[in-house]
């Protein structure tokens, strides 16, 4: 039985890829080798009145340099603490955890649809070692242009943008970009707020795109991240629940009961 993969990483750089997010680059060579796109780490936080670790997707990993990147927005005490870490300071990692994305065949087009910070899960997918498929299209949605990861961070992919306020790209929901993108050779990847996932599933159903070919990176509050607390349950198709941390976070969308996902 393997002992806890608790790792002490060091912050190499902190930057702001967009006005609304922080990117932390950590040094932890073993983790950088082990981490696969779609997997996550439980990051230790030491902020007042917090308790649990915080789950974050691996944005990208560079095994040669032993670097891992995380991209996140500051939404509460934990992310605020992480976002204030400076170069040289330690960050504790537990992981990599969970199942990453299943790589599509080389004859396939990967379409990644992301809402807000959901894009973090895809940064490593669109280039380098972990590049997916033959061709990669990114459909990127956000409230406004402030929330958009700059397209140069997604080099190697065709990026199409939608913003709620029209400050960049299409005005409206990112799901409006789906019909044009969903061809026969497509494998769809999605990550974002629950409402977006539900909208994508609705679109796929309308367009007759099979949910077996949709991979979703799930986000839900997590207690342990390792399958013991049963806190991250999400409704499974056919009844009962699956665990986002252990069965996911990446699963094909047909494994979830989307009717019961509403309102979570």
């Amino acid at each position: 039985m393997t002992v806890a993969t608790l790792r002490r990483a060091t912050v190499l750089e902190r930057s702001a890829p967009m006005r609304t997010a922080v990117e932390l680059v950590l040094h932890e060579p073993e983790a950088a080798v082990a981490a696969k796109p779609g997997q996550f780490f439980q990051l230790g936080v030491d902020a007042q009145h917090t308790l649990l670790r915080r789950p974050y997707s691996i944005a990208w990993a560079n095994p040669d340099l032993g670097r891992i990147g995380f991209i996140f927005s500051v939404v509460g005490a934990g992310s605020a603490w992480l976002g204030a870490r400076e170069a040289g300071q330690p960050v504790e990692l537990l992981g990599p955890l969970g199942n990453g994305f299943a790589t599509p065949g080389p004859d396939r087009t990967a379409v990644c649809i992301a809402g807000g910070l959901g894009i973090a899960a895809f940064v490593g997918l669109v280039k380098g070692r972990d590049r997916l498929g033959r061709r990669t299209v990114v459909l990127l949605g956000a409230r406004s242009s402030d929330w958009l990861l700059p397209a140069d961070r997604l080099r190697g992919a065709e990026v199409r943008v939608a913003t709620d306020d029209g400050s960049a790209g299409h005005t409206g929901r990112v799901t409006a970009l789906l019909p044009r993108a969903l061809h026969d050779d497509v494998e769809l990847f999605m990550c974002g707020p629950n409402e977006m996932l539900l909208a994508v599933v609705r679109s796929c159903r309308e367009l007759g795109f099979p949910l077996e070919r949709v991979q979703v990176a799930l986000e839900t509050p997590m207690g342990c991240g390792i399958g013991t607390c049963l806190g991250c349950a999400l409704p499974a198709r056919g009844g009962g629940y699956l665990l986002a941390c252990q069965d996911g976070p990446c699963v094909t969308a047909d494994r979830l009961d989307w009717d019961r996902m509403d309102g979570i």
Binding site: C224, R260, I264
Partner: protein, 289 residues
């Protein structure tokens, strides 16, 4: 030992080092399999977490037939935490575990709602004694009963449980609490209420152990918010004979080892031959555990 619900049945956490444990208590196990509550099931609070898992478990038969044989191979006593909605439920679960190789004992989780009486077994001394007595009659195995702390008179309930034949008492289960998602204007948990665990409850759990330990003669296992060796020592000083670690396992998978090493170091520093002796107040009668 590891507390119920925080280690599953010992299989799901390859990241966790089992060799540092003195014993393992499983997730609450019921007569039939249960799928548990709808999400959201957990919420963080200040130094604590709320959970309303809803006793998701594969049912006692699966546990007895699939898990127990594997536990036989382990160098670790496994105590099965059992739950039910009627005395008959509890008795049946205990019977199906009785004498099963791999099962070292039973922990009775009496914070479950009693369908007939309309309240929890654990909040009423008479009901608590009844269920303890019935399970006692159904099994020869060591029987630990776990107190729920959401009561006026914990000591009275503990005494009733002792009189009903429990071998030991674990104190305590979670404290009933709630969290509201202000932005979405609804309870944070789908279930509304949840059980509070973690460092936030440590002073409350410690008081419970302190009061119960001087009122009963059977050994007390302290549980509630233990994160460090010092926390565990507080419980031993309060009169606990052993401790369980719960929520900390989520935050520090190496917690059991850290706590154990810290206690050993403390004993060495203080020149104590036997940690059973460190309780601040004498127990009503000396016990060996």
């Amino acid at each position: 030992m590891v507390a119920s619900g925080t280690f599953g049945y010992g299989f799901d956490a390859p990241q966790v080092d089992r060799s540092a444990l003195g014993a393992m208590v499983t997730k609450g196990t019921t007569r039939a399999a249960r799928t548990g509550n709808p999400p959201v099931r957990i919420a963080e609070t200040a130094s604590g977490m709320l959970n309303a898992i809803g006793l998701q478990n594969p049912g006692v038969d699966y546990v007895a037939q699939t898990y127990a044989p594997q536990w036989v191979e382990w160098d670790l006593p496994v105590i099965v935490n059992i739950a039910g909605e009627s005395i008959e439920d509890y008795v049946e679960v205990a019977r199906r575990l009785d004498g099963r190789p791999g099962v070292a004992g039973i922990e009775l989780n009496i914070s479950c709602p009693n369908v007939e009486a309309g309240l929890q077994f654990g909040v009423d001394a008479r009901l608590a004694a009844q269920v303890t007595e019935a399970v006692r009659a159904a099994t020869e195995m060591p029987l630990m009963v776990k107190l729920t702390p959401n009561v006026t008179d914990l000591v009275g309930i503990a005494r009733a449980i002792e009189a009903a034949g429990a071998d030991s008492i674990s104190a305590v289960n979670t404290y009933l609490g709630m969290s509201i998602d202000v932005a979405r204007r609804r309870p944070a948990l789908a279930n509304g209420l949840g059980g509070l665990s973690g460092p936030a409850i440590k002073p409350l759990a410690l008081r419970a152990v302190w009061e119960v330990a001087s009122a009963v003669e059977i050994p007390i296992v302290g549980v509630g918010g233990i994160f460090t060796a010092e926390d565990a020592l507080e419980f031993l000083l309060a009169g606990a004979a052993a401790v369980q670690l719960g929520t900390v396992n989520y935050v520090r998978p190496d917690a059991a080892r850290l706590v154990r090493d810290g206690i050993v170091a403390f004993a060495a520093d203080s020149g104590l031959p036997d940690l059973g002796d460190i309780a601040l107040r004498p127990r009503r009668k000396a016990v060996h555990v």
